[in-house]
């Protein structure tokens, strides 16, 4: 089995992880559906560079090692 890629969804438990094998079409499809459902609810997706800097993600990339999904923000 190849290395697993992960969606980390920030939530009240800290985060919830959805992992998939990029070579498994069924797992990729399941992760894509989760990603797109959350994006429709206003979540924002980010990848993390090696130096720790975040970059924004516009669409699901099954090859991305780690994607962070952040719930919609509101003014405090």
């Amino acid at each position: 089995m190849g290395a697993m890629n992960e969606l980390k969804i920030l939530d009240p438990n800290g985060h919830t992880t959805t992992a998939w094998n990029p070579d498994d079409a069924e797992q990729v499809e399941r992760a894509r559906r989760t990603y797109e459902a959350l994006m429709r609810r206003g979540y924002r997706a980010f990848g993390i560079e090696r130096d720790g800097e975040g970059h924004t993600q516009q669409r699901f990339d099954p090859r991305e090692k780690e994607t962070l999904l952040v719930p919609p923000i509101h003014a405090g």
């Binding site: 920030l10 438990n13 800290g14 985060h15 975040g54 970059h55 719930p71 923000i73 405090g76």
Partner: protein, 148 residues
Amino acid sequence: MPAELAPRLPLWRALGRVLRRAAEARRRIALGAGAQRYAAHRSHELLLACLSPAQRLEFERTRAFTVRGESGRRYRIGFGTVANIEVLDERGELLYRLCAKPADLPTPAVMLAQKLMLESRETEFLRIAARHPLLVQAPGWQPSASPF
């Protein structure tokens, strides 16, 4: 059952019910506190994993870390969830504070969300965030004449 105890039985039953409910409430509170500690620990680990070495060092020293937006402006994110973002000028002096966050996340997860937004979706973040003026008076500041 002795006749003199009969009228008291409902009282003992009621007391038993109260004690059982109190024990159940204590158990639920303990479970909730444990879950909150676990969530805070997990989000703290994730935050550390997503910080640059310099940010991690600063965070370990001061419980705050500095990020740079796409505009080049620097922000210091402090440990907290309310007005915890300091907007800095070129010399690193505090200009004002910002507050914007996702709902219902542990504090380190809020800080991580703020870091990611400021580093790569700065304009959107600034559009949403509430701006909190400084409460500290600048040197030489004079109160204006009272209207009353």
